[in-house]
Every structure is written in structure tokens, then in C-alpha cells.
Amino acid sequence: MSADPVQQIDQATVAHALWKVRLLDASTGDGSVLDRSTAGDCHACNFGKWLDSGADGLSGTTEFPEVFSLHEAFHGAVGTFIDRMRRERIDLDTDLGGGSIRDRSSQLALRLLRWRDRLAGTE
């Protein structure tokens, strides 16, 4: 990722958004491979890998552990939802109206935004 911390956060945000698209595509059966162990693993996605790598020197910030926890919770919710999808034959879209994935994702995105604002000095 870029050395610019704001850019790093933006790329992490986009990585998270793209991962959600992959999740949505997987749930609608477009052929994407997204198994339970991978989707529920917060260390398997690009964002998770970035966090695990120390977030390019941002791991020392106060927001890092909070973002880490929120990301972990997001993947936990995804794993739970995948189990439910298999059990109840539902797709992700039906869960968008107030589901746990959307809430966790939004919480994570909000925390990333606050982190970004502080790093950009616009907080």
C-alpha cells in the first residue's frame, strides 16, 4: 500500500468494500468461491493482511486496536451469516435491511473514517 497514511486508510476502506462485493457475489451464486473458513477469517482478506502486517506503521495509533476488533467482529458476523445462509437458504441481500453484517461493516467504516480524519487533520 501507499506510504501516505490517509491513502493507506482509503485503500483499506476500498479493500473492505471490494470484499463485501465478493461476499455478495458469493451469496448470489455467481460462481465466486467464498468458503466459510475463508470468509469468517479476519486474517485472510487484504484488509486483514494489511492489519496483520502492522498497517504500514499505523499499528501504534490509538484507533488501530479498535479497528482490528471491529474488523474481527465483522468477519465473525460474516461467518455466522454464511452458516445461516446454508441453513436457511437465504442470500445476503435480504440481510441488508438492518442485518448484523451491514451494522458491523458500517461501524468499521465509521471508525476508519474517524481514523482517516484524524490522520488527515480534518477531525
Binding site: D10, T13, V14, H16, A17, L18, K20, V21, L24, L96, G97, G98, R102, D103, S105, S106, Q107, A109, L110, L112, L113
Partner: protein
């Protein structure tokens, strides 16, 4: 003691009882206690009847005395023994009269003091009532103001509650709208992310196509080179055919067939050259087109990369929008919860205020009632004050002059007859004191002192008779003391005294000291004997 004497002794008590029962009736009437008033009235009536009976007996005694004295004045001395008895009767009446005077004086004094006390207390009560009335008025005003303020507050609270309900409704609508916006923004963020993914794929494919086009351009250049080589071969073939034709000419007829072949080779060479030229032209056109395509693809790729960068920002922004809308929803839901809490609190406050308002109105009514009661109390205490003033004023004229030597319980020797006679002696001292103070101008000092001496002799005789009857010790000494007093008094009268204020003062001092010491000291001796005999003990300890 005969029956008549006992009745006359009862007269002072009857008078005291009459005053007491009348006072009771008055008090009952003043306090509105009907039973008490009737009881007092009935008692007064009974006591008045008893007093009339006793008074009648006294009057008859006085009438008998008057008749006896008239007979003796007329020279009829047959009633002399009866006259001696009458003197004793009159003396006992005097004792009773003095006792009545004392009782009346005490009662009047107590009544006046009571009236003064009632007046004082009723004034204090009036002041207190006025203070309470003032406080009650302030309370009433305060409670009225409080009730008005609470009503105003209730109206304001109602207005606030209506507005709060409107705001709560607006917050509910806003929160619902924000939730829809949040869902939409989440979907949009997914759409934008998908577009980004798609565009990334398109860019990749565009890059691959450009690379293919580059390869095609390179292949065209190779074909053009091959066509040039073909044209070179055709040129050399045509030259070879020309040489063959020349050689065939030279060979003549034998070479005629060879000349035909050479001509055909030449034609083929020209055809090959033409074809190679046409290939070169076609390949050149393809190459130009490919070059143009590569240029356009380069532009398109640049555009795609710019679009990717922009969509990257769009993805970031849409994620931010989604995050902010989520935050907004949470805040609005919190605000909505806050407004619902406010609405509940306002409702509770409104209910509580209603109760407070009811209590305030009740308080106001009670304050008004209290104020009325206190005003009534003030009027009553003022009335009581007037009654007390009237009572004090009425009794003021009834008061006897203060006693020079007042009777006190420590003067009692325990024998009622002797106590009564001692009281008479003390009252006679009062008359002497009034002489000294100029308060009895119509009286003669000689006569008053003569009366005092006369009554002292009478009392001493009665006392000595009692002591003899009691077999009290030191009777002779007691007689000597009595005689000394009488002698001293006689000396005083015979000394040609001028009865100046100082002379009377000296006499009073002597009388006071002698009587006080005698009653409290010497007379105690027979009093003790009398007490022992009454207790069933012997005359001597």
C-alpha cells in the same frame, strides 16, 4: 360555740362561694360552655339562698342588740345579761365581718388580678392572632400566587409537551428516513464497489487488447518486409526472363519455344511483383489502422485508469457516506429515544403538576379558611380583652386598701376562733395605719386605739379561757404578757400623745412587733397543746 355563731362563721365562706360560683357562671357564658354556665348559676342561686338565711340570722341578732341597747338606754336594765350575751354576739359578728372583708378583698383582688391577667393574655393573644393573621394572609397570598404560577407552569408544560410530541414525531420520521438512506447508501456503496471491480476488469482486458494490437502491428511490419522480398524476387525473375528471351531470339527457331516460356516467366514475375505491391499496400493500410488503434487504446486506457482512480475515491466516499449515515441513524435513534424519554417525563411532570395544582388550590382554600378563623379569633380576643378590662375596671373600686399587716398562714395557731380574733386585731392595725396615712379622716385616733384596746382585752380573755380549758402551760406568764400589753397601750393613750404621723408610726411599730412576736411565739405554746389534744395525745408531750 352555739349554732348561730357557727352559721355566722359560715357567712364569709358563703360569700366566697357565691363569688366563685358567679365567676364560674360568667366564665361558662364567656367560653360558650352552657353546662358550666348553668352549673355556676345554680350554685350561685343555692349559695345566695344560704347567704340570705345566714344574713337574716345576723340581722335578727343585730335587731335584738339594738332593742336591748334601747331598753338599757331607757333605764330598763333587766336585759343586762342578755346585753352581755349580745356583746359577745356582736363581737363574733365583727369577727365574721372582718373575715368576710378579707375574703371579699382576696376575691376582688384575685378577680382584678385575673381580669388583668386575662386582659394581658387576651392582648398577647390579639397580638399573636394579628401575627398569625398577617402570616396567614401572607400564606394565602403565597398560596394564591403559587396556584397561579402552577397553572401558568401547567399551561407552559402542556405547550412544551405538544411541541415535544411534534419534535418526537419529526425525529421518528427523520430516523425512519435516515434508516432508508442508510440502507440505500449501503447498497450504493456495494454498487460503486462493484463498478470499481468491473472497471478494474475492463482495464485489465484493455491492457491485454492493446498488447495484442501491438503484436498485430509487429506482424504487419513482418508481412510488408516479406512482400518487399517477393517484389525483389519478381524483379530478378523478370530480368531472368528478359535474358532468357534474348537467348531464345538468338537461338532462332529452336529457341522459339523457350522464348514463349521466358515470356510466361516474365508475366508471372510481373504478376508476383504486382501482388507483392498490393500486399504491401494492404499491410501498410492495416499497419496504419493498427497504429491508430493502439493510439486510441492508449487514450482509452488512460481514461480507464483515471476513471479507476475516480471510482476508487467514489468507493471511499460511498463507504464514508454509509458510515456517516449509520452514525446519523444511531444518533437519531438516540435522539428519538431521548425525545420519547422527554415526552414520558413531561407526561409524568404534567400529572404530578396536576396533583400539585390540586394541592395548591386546597392550600389556598385552607389559607383563606385559616385567615377567616384567625380574624374571628382576633375579634374574640379583642372582645375578651374588653370584658377583662371591664372586669378589672369594675373590681378596681371594690378593692380594699392593702393590709398593713396581711394575714399569712404562718400566723395561724390552729384554733379557728383564735385565728379569727387575731385577724380582727390585724385589721384594727390597718385602721391605725390608715390614720397614719391620712386615709380615714373621719375617724378619731383615740376611739380607734380604744377599740383596739377593748378588743385586745376581749381576745386576751378568750385566749386565757381557752388556755385554762386546755390546761396549757405557762398560763400565768401568758396572762402577765397580756396585761403588760394592755398596760403599755394604756400608757400610750395616757401619755398626752398628739397623734402625729410619727406618733402613730411608733404605735404601729410597737403593735406590729408585739403582735407578730406574740402570735408567732407565745401563742404557739397553747397551739401545740391544742394540736396534741386534737390528735388524741395528752396535753403535755
Amino acid at each position: 360555740m352555739n349554732r348561730g355563731f357557727r352559721l355566722r362563721r359560715a357567712f364569709p365562706s358563703l360569700v366566697a362561694l357565691f363569688v366563685a360560683t358567679t365567676g364560674l357562671a360568667t366564665l361558662g357564658a364567656m367560653l360558650g360552655q352552657v353546662a358550666l354556665a348553668w352549673a355556676g348559676l345554680a350554685g350561685s342561686l343555692l349559695v345566695a339562698i344560704a347567704s340570705l338565711v345566714v344574713g337574716n340570722r345576723i340581722v335578727r341578732t343585730l335587731e335584738t342588740a339594738q332593742a336591748t341597747l334601747a331598753h338599757q338606754r331607757d333605764g330598763d336594765l333587766r336585759d343586762r345579761p342578755a346585753g352581755d350575751g349580745l356583746v359577745r354576739e356582736l363581737r363574733s359578728i365583727l369577727v365574721s365581718t372582718v373575715a368576710v372583708g378579707d375574703a371579699l378583698s382576696a376575691l376582688v383582688s384575685e378577680t382584678r388580678d385575673g381580669g388583668r391577667s386575662v386582659s394581658h393574655r387576651s392582648r398577647a393573644m390579639a397580638t399573636l392572632f394579628e401575627s398569625i393573621r398577617s402570616e396567614a394572609e401572607r400564606n394565602r397570598i403565597s398560596s394564591s400566587n403559587l396556584a397561579a404560577a402552577i397553572e401558568e407552569l401547567t399551561a407552559s408544560l402542556r405547550h412544551i409537551a405538544v411541541n415535544a410530541e411534534r419534535i418526537r414525531g419529526a425525529a421518528v420520521d427523520t430516523a425512519a428516513g435516515a434508516r432508508r438512506l442508510n440502507e440505500t447508501s449501503f447498497r450504493n456503496s456495494l454498487v460503486v464497489a462493484r463498478q470499481y471491480t468491473n472497471l478494474q476488469g475492463t482495464t485489465t482486458r484493455m491492457r491485454e487488447a492493446k498488447e495484442s494490437t501491438d503484436s498485430l502491428e509487429k506482424a504487419g511490419s513482418g508481412i510488408t518486409g516479406l512482400a518487399g522480398e517477393i517484389q525483389g524476387i519478381a524483379r530478378r525473375t523478370r530480368l531472368l526472363a528478359l535474358n532468357a528471351a534474348i537467348e531464345a531470339q538468338r537461338s532462332g527457331e529452336a529457341g522459339r519455344g523457350f522464348a514463349v516460356v521466358a515470356g510466361e516467366v516474365k508475366a508471372l514475375a510481373e504478376q508476383s511483383s504486382e501482388l507483392a505491391g498490393r500486399i504491401q499496400g494492404q499491410v501498410g493500410a492495416i499497419s496504419a489502422g493498427t497504429t491508430e488503434l493502439v493510439g486510441r487504446m492508449t487514450l482509452l486506457q488512460d481514461g480507464l485508469e483515471r476513471s479507476i482512480a475516480e471510482i476508487f475515491r467514489s468507493v471511499v466516499s460511498s463507504e464514508h457516506v454509509n458510515a456517516l449515515s449509520t452514525d446519523g441513524v444511531q444518533r437519531l435513534e438516540s435522539t428519538q429515544a431521548g425525545f420519547e424519554e422527554i415526552a414520558r417525563t413531561l407526561e409524568e411532570s404534567y400529572t404530578a403538576l396536576g396533583e400539585v395544582s390540586t394541592n395548591a388550590h386546597e392550600l389556598d382554600q385552607r389559607a383563606r379558611a385559616l385567615e377567616s378563623t384567625v380574624v374571628e379569633g382576633t375579634r374574640e380576643s379583642t372582645l375578651l380583652d374588653r370584658v377583662a378590662e371591664s372586669l378589672e375596671s369594675s373590681t378596681r373600686g371594690m378593692l380594699l386598701a392593702p393590709a398593713f399587716f396581711p394575714w399569712t398562714d404562718d400566723l395561724s395557731v390552729g384554733v379557728a376562733e383564735m385565728d379569727d380574733q387575731h385577724r380582727v386585731l390585724l385589721r384594727l392595725l390597718d385602721r391605725v395605719a390608715r390614720l397614719r396615712d391620712g386615709g380615714d379622716p373621719g375617724s378619731s385616733p383615740d376611739r380607734i386605739v380604744a377599740q383596739l384596746a377593748d378588743y385586745a382585752r376581749y381576745h386576751f380573755a378568750a385566749e386565757e379561757e381557752l388556755m385554762a380549758r386546755l390546761q396549757a402551760p405557762d398560763l400565768a406568764e401568758h396572762r402577765r404578757v397580756h396585761a403588760t400589753f394592755v398596760e403599755r397601750l394604756g400608757t400610750f393613750r395616757r401619755s398626752g400623745i398628739s397623734w402625729s404621723k410619727e406618733d402613730i408610726g411608733r404605735l404601729l411599730e410597737f403593735l406590729e412587733n408585739w403582735l407578730s412576736g406574740h402570735i408567732r411565739g407565745t401563742d404557739r405554746k397553747y397551739a401545740e397543746v391544742h394540736a396534741r389534744l386534737r390528735a388524741g395525745e395528752g396535753a403535755r408531750p
